[in-house]
C-alpha cells in the first residue's frame, strides 16, 4: 500500500541532523513575571512582542555541576490556540487533570518544581498574533495578495542584491510582534537584513563556487572579522571546505578573530573544558538521579539513522551519548528530549568531514571510520569533533530552549505561527486542511522539534543550516518561514488529497529523497520572501 511504499523510500534517505547549542545551565526556576512590553532588542528567542506573561528562566545548576552559569532569559509569549487546535488550549488543565495518574514517576524529572507554574503561565494567558484573527475568513482577495507578495518578494530579492537598498519594512518589522521578523531587524542598520542574495536575481542564490570561496577567503583573512559580511555571504551557502570553520564562527563557538593562533587557543581551551566535563559528569549516568535520562539517550542513539553504516559504529554512538548526556545534565529545564539527538548530526557530520579531510564529494554515509584512518588517528581526531559538536549544539539549543521544556511551549507557539502564516498566504490550502480536519500540530510538531531533519536529506539540512546560522534567530524564527515555505511547496499535492488519511500519510512521508541544493535554495528564497513580504503586509490583512 501507499504507506509501505512511501515508508520504504523514506527509510532510504534518512537524514541526520545535528546541531544545537546552548548555554550553560539554563534551567527553569519558574519565575513568572509580567512581560514589560518586552523590548524587541532582547535576544530572547521568540515573540517578545507578544503581550502577556513571560517566563524568565533562571540558572539552576544541577547538583554537583559547577560550571559558571550564564544568565539567560527566555521569554515566551503564551500561546492561545484557535479553532482547530482546541486541545492545546487546555494543556495546563489537562496536565492538572491527569497528574495524579502519573504522580509517581514524574518526580524523576529534575525540573518538576517549575513545571506547574510554567504550565499555568502557558495555559492561563492568551494572546494572539496580530492579524491572526483573519482566521478562516479568507477571501478571493487573498490569491491576488499572494501573487502580490510573491512579486514583491522577488522584487525585494533583486533589490537586496544591488547593495544597500535598505528595507522600508524595518520599522514595521521591529515594531510588530509575533510573526514579524524580529531577528536582526531590530536594528535597522545592522546590515544583516541584506544578508540574502548577493547579486541581482534569484539566480544569484545559486552558488558560484570558486568566486564564492574567494569572497569567503577574503572575509576570513581580514584582521578583525566582519561578522556581518560573513553572515551575508553564508546565507546563500558556505563552500563545503570552509563550512566547519564558518559554522563554528557563526555559532559563536569560535571567536571572531582571524588570527589562527588565537582561534586555535580558544578552541583548544573549549575542547579541554568539554573533556573535563565528560570526565567529571559522564560517570553520573548510572546515578539514580540521571539513569532515566541516560536510558532514554541510550535507547534513542542506536535507533538513529538506521540505514547509515556510519551511525552503527560504536565509537560514533558513544560519542553521541556523551554529547547528549552532558548537555542534558547541564540543562535540567528541558533535559534530554527525543529529537535533540538528531540535532547533533549536522554538526557531527560537518566537523567530521573537516577533521578527516574528506573531499566535498565523498559520501559519508558508508564511511567506515576504522577503514579511513587508524584507531590512533581516530583517537586524535574525534575528541575535537565531539567537543565542537557539543558546544555548537549547546549554542543552538539555547536559542530554542522553549521547544524542549515542559509542554514544549516554543513548539506550540511556532506551530500557531505557521498556521497563521499559511492561512494568510495560502488560504485554499489552509481551508483544505481544515476541511480534512488535519491539525497543524499533527504534522508540523516534528518539523519544529527536529528542525526538519527528519523531512529532508542531510545534505539539504546542512545547506539549510548555513542560512539558519547566518540569521540572528535562524533556528527559532526564520525556521517558521521555512516550514511555511515547505508546506506551500506541497500545496497542490495536498489539495488533491481527498481526506484526512491521505493528507496525513503524505505529510508524514513527503517525497524529498531526491532533493538537493536547488530545492533547498528555492525553499529558502520563498521563506525569505514570506518573511519580508509578511512584515510588509497591507494593514487590512493584518487586522
Amino acid at each position: 500500500m501507499i504507506f509501505g511504499e512511501q515508508r520504504r523510500k523514506w527509510r532510504h534517505r534518512r537524514l541526520y541532523p545535528g546541531g544545537a547549542s546552548s548555554v550553560d545551565c539554563l534551567s527553569r526556576d519558574g519565575e513568572i513575571k509580567e512581560a514589560t512590553s518586552a523590548s524587541p532588542v532582547d535576544a530572547s528567542e521568540t515573540g517578545s512582542g507578544l503581550t502577556g506573561l513571560a517566563l524568565v528562566v533562571n540558572d539552576l545548576t544541577p547538583a554537583g555541576l559547577r560550571s559558571t552559569p550564564l544568565r539567560s532569559s527566555v521569554q515566551e509569549g503564551p500561546v492561545k490556540v484557535n479553532g482547530g487546535l482546541k486541545s492545546m488550549d487546555s494543556f495546563g488543565k489537562y496536565q492538572r487533570d491527569v497528574s495524579d495518574a502519573w504522580s509517581t514517576e514524574e518526580l524523576a524529572e529534575e525540573d518538576n518544581a517549575g513545571s506547574s507554574r510554567q504550565d499555568d503561565n502557558y495555559g492561563s494567558s492568551s494572546s494572539r498574533l496580530p492579524g491572526a484573527t483573519s482566521n478562516g475568513r479568507v477571501s478571493g482577495q487573498n490569491r491576488h495578495y499572494s501573487e502580490h507578495l510573491r512579486a514583491k518578494g522577488l522584487q525585494r530579492l533583486a533589490m537586496q542584491s544591488s547593495g544597500r537598498a535598505s528595507l522600508p519594512a524595518h520599522s514595521a518589522i521591529a515594531s510588530r510582534p509575533g510573526l514579524a521578523v524580529r531577528s536582526s531587524s531590530v536594528n535597522a542598520n545592522d546590515g544583516l537584513d541584506e544578508r540574502p542574495p548577493s547579486s541581482s536575481s534569484l539566480q544569484s542564490l545559486l552558488p558560484r563556487h570558486s568566486q564564492k570561496s574567494d569572497k569567503f577567503d577574503k572575509v576570513l583573512s581580514m584582521p578583525s572579522l566582519d561578522m556581518e559580511e560573513l553572515r551575508r555571504l553564508s546565507w546563500s551557502g558556505i563552500p563545503s571546505q570552509l563550512r566547519a570553520n564558518v559554522w563554528r564562527l557563526l555559532c559563536g563557538h569560535a571567536p571572531p578573530v582571524s588570527s589562527k593562533q588565537k582561534l586555535e587557543d580558544t578552541l583548544h581551551r573549549k575542547r579541554e573544558e568539554y573533556q573535563s566535563l565528560v570526565h567529571d559528569y559522564y560517570p553520573k549516568r548510572h546515578d539514580d538521579q540521571y539513569k532515566d535520562t541516560f536510558r532514554q539517550i541510550h535507547i534513542d542513539v542506536p535507533r538513529m539513522c538506521p540505514l547509515i553504516p556510519l551511525f552503527q559504529q560504536i565509537v560514533v554512538q558513544e560519542l553521541f551519548e556523551r554529547v547528549l548526556f552532558i548537555w542534558a545534565l547541564r540543562n535540567p529545564a528541558s533535559g534530554y528530549v527525543q529529537g535533540i539527538n538528531d540535532l547533533v548530526t549536522p554538526y557531527f557530520m560537518v566537523f567530521l568531514r573537516q577533521s578527516l579531510a574528506l573531499s566535498p564529494e565523498e559520501d559519508m554515509d558508508n564511511l567506515q571510520l576504522d577503514q579511513v584512518c587508524s584507531s590512533a588517528q581516530l583517537q586524535a581526531k574525534l575528541p575535537a569533533v565531539e567537543a565542537d559538536s557539543f558546544w555548537c549544539l549547546s549554542k543552538l539549543l539555547s536559542s530554542i530552549q522553549s521547544n524542549y521544556t515542559f509542554a514544549q511551549p516554543g513548539i506550540q507557539q511556532r506551530v500557531v505561527q505557521l498556521k497563521d502564516l499559511v492561512q494568510r498566504v495560502d488560504a485554499p490550502l489552509h481551508r483544505h486542511l481544515e476541511k480534512c480536519t488535519v491539525e497543524y500540530l499533527q504534522f508540523s510538531f516534528r518539523w519544529m522539534n527536529n528542525l526538519l531533519i527528519r523531512e529532508l536529506p542531510l545534505k539539504c539540512i546542512i545547506r539549510l543550516w548555513d542560512s539558519y546560522h547566518s540569521e540572528m534567530e535562524g533556528f527559532a524564527h526564520f525556521h517558521v518561514y521555512v516550514c511555511a515555505s515547505f508546506l506551500l511547496w506541497w500545496s497542490e499535492d495536498l489539495r488533491n488529497q481527498p481526506d484526512f488519511q491521505h493528507c496525513l500519510l503524505l505529510l508524514q512521508n513527503l517525497p524529498t529523497q531526491n532533493w538537493g541544493e536547488d530545492e533547498v535554495e528555492r525553499l529558502l528564497a520563498k521563506a525569505y520572501m514570506l518573511k519580508y513580504s509578511f512584515a510588509d503586509a497591507p494593514r487590512h490583512l493584518r487586522a
Binding site: 494543556f91 502519573w102 532514554q296 535507547i299 534513542d300 535507533r303 514544549q408 510538531f445 522539534n449 500519510l505
Partner: protein, 216 residues
C-alpha cells in the same frame, strides 16, 4: 435481515491509539501488523505517526486509523490529541521491563479518567521472544488487565506472534461497542418520534448481533 446485511456490509471507521513507554515496541507492532515487516533498527517515534489498515470481520468492514505515539514523557502532554476520540487503545509494555508495565497502569488511569468506559482497552506484553529475560509475570498482567476491563495479549513483533489477533480482537470489541452505543442512542431517542420510524432503524441494524464470537 441477513440478506440486507450481505447486500450492504456496514463500514466502521475506528480510531486506535498506541500508548506505552519508549522502546517497548509500539512502532514495531504496527509495522508488523500494517506491513508485515520487522526491523531491528528503526527510528524512535517523535510525537506520533499515523497509519491505516482495512480489515473485514464477518459482514463488517473496518477501517482502522492508527496513531502510534512516542513513548517519551516529554511528549506526554500531547497525548489527548491522539486519544481523545479514539475507539480503542493499545497499551504496550515490554515483558522484560517492569517499569514499562507500571507505565501501562498510568495510561489506564489516565484514559479512564479522561474518556470513561467508552474506549476499548487492550494491554500487550511485547517481546515474548525474550521469554528468558521476562520480568513481568503473565498472571500479574492478566489479573491487572481483567481488573480494569482490558483484554491482555502477549506478542512478539519480531517473530510475528500474536500481533494480528490483537487488532482483530480489538476491532471486534469496538464493533460491539459501536452497536451498543447505537442501540442506546435509539433507546434514548425522543419517544416523540414515531415508533414506526424507530423500528425501521432497528431492523436495519439488527444483523449486528451475530458477529460477536468469531474464530481464530
Amino acid at each position: 435481515m441477513a440478506a440486507s446485511a450481505v447486500a450492504s456490509p456496514r463500514v466502521h471507521d475506528f480510531k486506535v491509539v498506541l500508548l506505552g513507554e519508549g522502546c517497548v515496541g509500539k512502532t514495531s507492532l504496527v509495522l508488523r501488523y500494517v506491513e508485515n515487516k520487522f526491523n531491528e533498527k528503526h527510528e524512535s517515534t517523535l510525537q506520533a505517526s499515523f497509519l491505516t489498515k482495512k480489515l473485514t470481520i464477518g459482514n463488517r468492514r473496518v477501517n482502522l486509523s492508527i496513531w502510534d505515539t512516542a513513548g517519551q514523557e516529554r511528549f506526554h502532554a500531547l497525548g489527548p490529541i491522539y486519544y481523545r476520540d479514539s475507539n480503542g487503545a493499545i497499551l504496550t509494555y515490554d515483558i522484560t521491563d517492569d517499569d514499562s508495565f507500571q507505565k501501562v497502569k498510568n495510561w489506564v488511569k489516565e484514559l479512564k479518567k479522561m474518556l470513561g468506559t467508552d474506549i476499548m482497552l487492550t494491554i500487550i506484553g511485547n517481546k515474548t521472544d525474550l521469554e528468558k529475560q521476562r520480568n513481568v509475570s503473565v498472571e500479574t498482567a492478566e489479573q491487572y488487565a481483567e481488573s480494569v476491563g482490558a483484554t491482555h495479549f502477549q506478542t512478539s513483533a519480531k517473530l510475528n506472534r500474536g500481533v494480528e489477533e490483537v487488532f482483530l480482537d480489538l476491532s471486534r470489541r469496538m464493533i460491539e461497542q459501536a452497536d451498543k452505543q447505537d442501540a442506546e442512542k435509539r433507546a434514548l431517542s425522543p419517544s416523540s418520534r414515531s415508533t414506526a420510524a424507530g423500528n425501521v432503524v432497528l431492523l436495519e441494524e439488527t444483523p449486528a448481533a451475530p458477529i460477536k464470537s468469531g474464530c481464530c
